[in-house]
């Protein structure tokens, strides 16, 4: 048994599988899943006019209920579902964060005041872009309500993904999470060609990566005779010799997961999808998929492959460095704000990987904190993007943000806050996050990675700062977009994101305690 495993596993549950299923422990997943099913039924049976309010009640109610259960479950550490699901500290923190972020994302998706034509989604995704049908639907004020079942299903997958303790569960969760997102990405009301293209790219590449993931699972199964992470870890300790099978399996598994976290060189879908997808969905997916995927990655690496730490560390090391650098470097010449944030999210993935690579409880805690900080900031940033508009919809080209501070000082200030947080300026959540992962990494001896991270941070700071330059230091042009006053939905989401960004920057202690107490993954 590796040193890590000894450190990580302190309980004797290793050989003990719970008989049956602890339903309360997996209730958050079940609640959301149940709500999703109900939501599908609502689509079928509830009259069109009533669908939106009903769906909203279901979504908000179920998310809040799930959140309540997660909070109630705090401190739980158990493995249930015949070893398929691990409900432990990290899982619960991620689930909690996912639920809160999902709630904010739901608010953004429910926003109707921003776009004069309705919400951010095509009234009928099946209608041809620009066709008479579409215009008719728009005129009638149809709203797409199928987004809600998709949303809930994706959320189900996300909640299960970091909890999955065997690779089959993980694969299923991955697909449950991904498939609805593929569809959601293609449902933008405006710029539908881009949106559809994003959906296609996301789907094909996502499926492609799933195939890798699955094949990797197959190899590991072939090696260990089980898809359980614990069993794989044990087999690795027992017979560390079978090089090729394990190496191939591990590599392909990593490819699938790294695709989801958008690590270089598996990142290329990210800019296209982030740019093309409807902005609330981009915000939702940028924040939550990253959490869920890192949750799964962490569990696979720490629990399943912890014994092979010395094998995967150098590779992930290079990938992390590349991810930070490539993401940051390409972002500096972007002209579309959503695309820029997509590259930024790639770079951020690299920073989180630093925490992952610390391979220590501190690394896990710091990665969790970073994910929380990043998720709130990101969803807030996309909320702002959804509000900055001109006649053709969202004004995502950076030139249209020139002098925005004149038109709306408050929004410009909030967006600047998010940019500074992403850049990692102190007194914002992003700084504490970066500080945490760097600290964990240096404590584990990954000093050079931190130095690369520092260099990448500087490069990244350039493009975050550039947005501030454009908003504050340039004079408004006739093309400058205006900021639409949103309804309470977006306002709440934005306020929450901004508040968390500041509070986590100034008083991070409670959350740091939370992630520290989350301890380690259960085995």
């Amino acid at each position: 048994m590796s040193a890590l495993a000894t450190a990580v596993v302190s309980e004797t549950e290793t050989l003990f599988t719970a008989p049956g299923i602890n339903y309360y422990a997996i209730a958050p997943i079940l609640i959301i899943f149940g709500a999703a099913v109900v939501s599908v039924l609502v689509e079928a049976f509830v009259p069109r006019r009533a669908r939106r309010p009903v769906q909203l009640v279901i979504v908000i109610g179920s998310v809040l209920a799930a959140l309540a259960v997660v909070i109630d479950l705090r401190g739980t550490r158990l493995i249930t579902g015949e070893g398929a699901l691990a409900i432990d500290g990290p899982t619960l923190i991620m689930q909690g964060t996912l639920l809160i972020i999902a709630l904010l994302a739901a608010f953004l998706m429910a926003e109707r005041s921003i776009d004069p034509l309705g919400d951010a989604f095509a009234p009928r995704a099946s209608a041809l872009p620009g066709s008479e049908d579409e215009q008719e639907f728009t005129k009638r004020g149809y709203l797409q309500t199928e987004i809600w079942p998709f949303f809930l299903l994706a959320l189900t997958g996300m909640l299960a993904f970091p909890a999955a303790n065997d690779l089959l569960m993980m694969f299923v969760a991955l697909e449950v999470m991904s498939l609805p997102l593929y569809l959601l990405a293609g449902m933008a009301r405006r710029r539908r060609l881009l949106s559809q293209e994003a959906a296609l790219k996301y789907f094909v590449l996502g499926a492609f990566s799933s195939a890798f993931f699955l094949y990797g699972v197959a190899m590991l199964y072939g090696f260990s005779g089980s898809v359980s992470l614990v069993a794989i870890a044990d087999t690795l300790t027992a017979k560390p010799s079978e090089a090729t099978l394990v190496a191939v399996g591990m590599a392909m598994l990593l490819v699938g997961l790294l695709f989801k976290v958008a690590a270089v060189p598996f990142h290329q879908w990210t800019p296209d999808v982030y740019q093309g997808a409807p902005t609330p969905i981009t915000g939702f997916m940028a924040a939550t998929v990253k959490i869920a995927a890192f949750g799964a990655l962490l569990r696979v690496l720490y629990v399943g492959l912890g014994g092979m730490r010395w094998d995967w560390e150098p590779i992930l090391w290079i990938i992390a460095a590349l991810t930070m650098l490539v993401g940051s470097i390409i972002a500096i010449t972007q002209t579309d704000i959503k695309r820029m944030l997509a590259y930024s999210s790639i770079a951020q993935a690299g920073f989180i990987l630093i925490g992952v690579l610390a391979v220590s409880p501190a690394g896990l805690a710091s990665a969790l904190f970073y994910l929380i900080a990043y998720a709130f900031t990101t969803i807030g940033a996309f909320a702002v993007i959804s509000m900055v508009r001109d006649a053709s919809g969202e004004a995502t080209h950076l030139s249209k943000w020139a002098g925005l501070s004149k038109k709306s000082p408050l929004v410009a200030a909030i967006f600047s806050l998010f940019m500074l947080a992403l850049a990692g300026i102190p007194l914002t959540s992003g700084f504490v996050g970066k500080f945490g992962v760097f600290t964990a990494a240096i404590a584990s001896g990954a000093t050079w990675l931190v130095i690369i991270g520092v260099v990448a941070s500087v490069i990244a700071a350039f493009f975050y700062v550039r947005v501030i330059v454009i908003m504050y230091f340039s004079d408004p042009t006739p093309d400058t977009a205006s900021v639409v006053v949103p309804s309470a939905f977006t306002t709440i989401a934005l306020a929450a994101a901004a508040t968390v960004t500041i509070v986590l920057g100034i008083f991070p202690q409670p959350v740091i305690e939370l992630v520290n107490q989350a301890g380690v993954f259960i085995r």
Binding site: L200, L205, F212, A247, M252, Q268, I319, I332, T333, F462
Partner: protein
């Protein structure tokens, strides 16, 4: 070392000596236009009050025993760090009181004179403010009890000099001259700074008493270094070779300034510094020799320049250089010379102030023209000015019984004591003095009138002539009285030490020889410039004349050796900063930007290309893992 006496009675006012003119300066300079009306009078009053205090102190000091004439007054500890400490403290002894009197008395006279000379200048108030500032700084210089405080006065007079040289700063030449003076002085200041530092490192203190008390214990090398550094400082302040170039330009300032600062007092600060540090120079022979050499070179440079200039003030400035050269040289002669250096300094202060003020008076009547070739035959029109000028002239060339005779002859004697070569050179230079001063007097007051058309020469008002008369009286009797009545040698002896001269020949031989040489020089001058027609356009002259007109190429040398290379280096560094250092910074930014531009094109937008990079990545990861596992 003499014990410091506590400052009691009149001596408790030492600080007031400085504070009075300083207060005057502050009020005049910061008081603004409100003080225009009465400001100049305040200026005179404060300096005059200082003079009175100074005289009282002299009287008080004379009542004490010679050993009890060194008075110390400490106000507070000024700078203190670790082992370093310098007090805001004054030391009044026989040497400083001489300077105090010179500065305050001559200063008062020149203040009064300025009342007339500057009567119509709109910035008269500022002028008096600067003059007061100068007096305060100069007093601080001579009263300080440690080198660091001396440095404050040292630069203070430099500042005042700068401000006054460029007083008519609307003239670019005046502004440039002031700047030049300050910068060249700064070179000298480097010497003073380093000397102070070396003293601290060597002796652990920069106070006069401490340093002189243990100076003998230091190695000769160190003392020589300190001596040379002090000499550098003296060269800067006293316009000695090689830092002489600023003095001639300094004549851009108003004439009273030239009289006070660039003749009587400030430029002699170098002499003060060397004499004050006599302990060090006595112990460091090579430094003393360097002092003699510098002094001798300057004596000749100044004399040659003075002989060739047609500008009356510049000619006088050359003369000043030369005379200070005498003093510096004397100070290099050792204990034998210190007293004479100070003696000559005092005498020079009086007659040179008289000469400058006289020149100012002439200019006043000649529409501020300084070209002696446009003077001539002014004597009948300016009786007082010419008489006083001629008295001072007799003093400077050393005709008995005028004061220069006593002081200069002593120096020449002392130099023979040291070495015949030095003596002969000093003696010959005295002859040259006779020539150029006669030339000046002849061109100005005698010969034919060569005035410009609209000039109506006239005598100056009383406020200007009275100081002239007083100075002339001083020039007439000063030497006599200090030799026969006051005995300056024994007065200064406790400070400088003394050494009796043992000359191979009786003193009158030297005196006579010198006198003969001076008269020969004077006669040549007279024959050339009074008897013959003086052309209005200067003749081309010999190469030496041409060189002397260009200040013996002092500026050209500085320009080629220092100024040009500095600006060349500066421009090169600007280029290097932009292209090199900043170029690297901007270049790395541009590099990353370029890299970004390239990298983003790998994001082709084609799904299959993305898939390819995923497959490629996967293959690499697999290979890497297999390799890692295999190894």
């Amino acid at each position: 070392m003499t014990e410091l006496m506590p400052a009691e009675g009149v001596f408790s006012l030492i600080w007031l000596l400085i504070a009075l003119p300083l207060a005057g300066a502050v009020i005049l300079l910061f008081g603004g236009r409100r003080t225009n009306a009465w400001g100049p009078y305040l200026g005179i009053l404060t300096v005059g009050a200082s003079a009175v205090i100074g005289i009282l102190m002299l009287l008080g000091m004379m009542q004490n025993d010679p050993e009890q004439r060194t008075i110390g007054q400490t106000l507070f500890t000024w700078v203190f760090v670790g082992d370093f400490s310098a007090d805001m403290a004054f030391q009044l002894d026989q040497l400083s009181i001489v300077f105090v009197l010179l500065i305050t008395v001559v200063g008062t006279l020149i203040h009064i004179y300025s009342l007339g000379y500057m009567a119509h200048d709109p910035d008269k108030r500022k002028f008096f403010g600067y003059l007061n500032l100068f007096v305060a700084a100069m007093l601080l210089l001579v009263l300080a009890n440690n080198y660091l405080l001396l440095y404050v006065g040292w630069e203070g007079v430099g500042l005042a000099s700068y401000l006054l040289i460029s007083f008519w700063q609307i003239k670019p030449s005046a502004a440039a001259a002031g700047k030049k003076a300050f910068i060249i002085n700064r070179v000298g200041d480097v010497g003073l700074s380093l000397a102070i530092m070396l003293m601290f490192v060597t002796f652990g203190s920069v106070g006069f008493q401490d340093v002189f008390g243990v100076a003998g214990q230091a190695s000769e090398g160190t003392l020589t270094a300190i001596g040379l550094l002090l000499l550098l400082a003296a060269c800067g302040k006293s316009a000695q070779f090689p830092l002489q170039a600023w003095l001639l330009d300094a004549m851009e300032g108003p004439t009273p300034v030239s009289a006070l600062i660039h003749a009587a007092t400030m430029v002699t600060a170098g002499v003060y510094l060397i004499v004050r540090s006599n302990v060090i120079f006595t112990a460091a022979e090579w430094a003393a020799i360097a002092v003699i050499v510098v002094g001798m070179i300057t004596i000749w440079m100044g004399a040659i320049i003075g002989s060739a200039k047609d500008d009356i003030k510049k000619s006088l400035a050359g003369s000043t250089m030369s005379q200070i050269g005498y003093m510096i040289m004397a100070a290099g002669l050792g204990p034998i010379g210190y007293v004479f250096a100070i003696f000559h300094l005092l005498m020079h202060g009086v007659f040179k102030a008289g000469l400058f003020l006289g020149a100012g008076s002439v200019m006043h009547g000649m529409n501020d023209n300084v070209n002696m070739r446009r003077y001539g035959a002014l004597r009948p029109l300016m009786l007082i000015t010419s008489t006083t000028f001629i008295i001072c002239y007799l003093a400077i060339i050393g005709i008995p019984p005028f004061d220069g005779f006593f002081s200069k002859d002593d120096i020449i004697h002392a130099s023979f004591e040291r070495s015949p070569i030095i003596g002969v050179l000093a003696m010959l230079a005295a002859g040259l003095t006779g020539f150029y001063m006669t030339r000046m007097v002849a061109m100005t007051f005698f010969g034919k009138a060569r005035w410009e058309d609209d000039v109506h020469p006239h005598e100056s008002p009383k406020v200007m002539t009275i100081p002239l008369i007083i100075l002339a009286i001083g020039a007439t009797f000063g030497g006599l009285s200090l030799v026969y009545w006051g005995n300056i040698e024994s007065w200064l002896e406790p400070v400088t030490g003394i050494e009796t001269m043992e000359l191979a020949l009786p003193a009158w031989v030297f005196e006579l020889t010198t006198l003969v040489l001076v008269i020969i020089g004077a006669v040549i001058g007279w024959m050339t410039y009074a008897r013959r027609e003086v052309p209005i356009e200067a003749p081309r002259g010999s190469w030496l004349t041409r060189a002397a007109r260009k200040d013996l190429y002092g500026d050209a040398v500085n320009d080629v050796l220092v100024v040009q290379p500095t600006f060349y280096a500066s421009r090169w560094l600007v280029w290097f900063d932009n292209k090199g250092v900043d170029g690297f910074v901007n270049g790395s930014a541009a590099f990353i930007g370029g890299l970004s531009g390239r990298l983003r094109h790998y994001q082709t937008g084609f799904i299959r290309s993305y898939a390819l990079s995923m497959v490629g990545g996967a293959v690499l990861v697999v290979l890497a893992l297999v390799l890692v596992r295999a190894s």
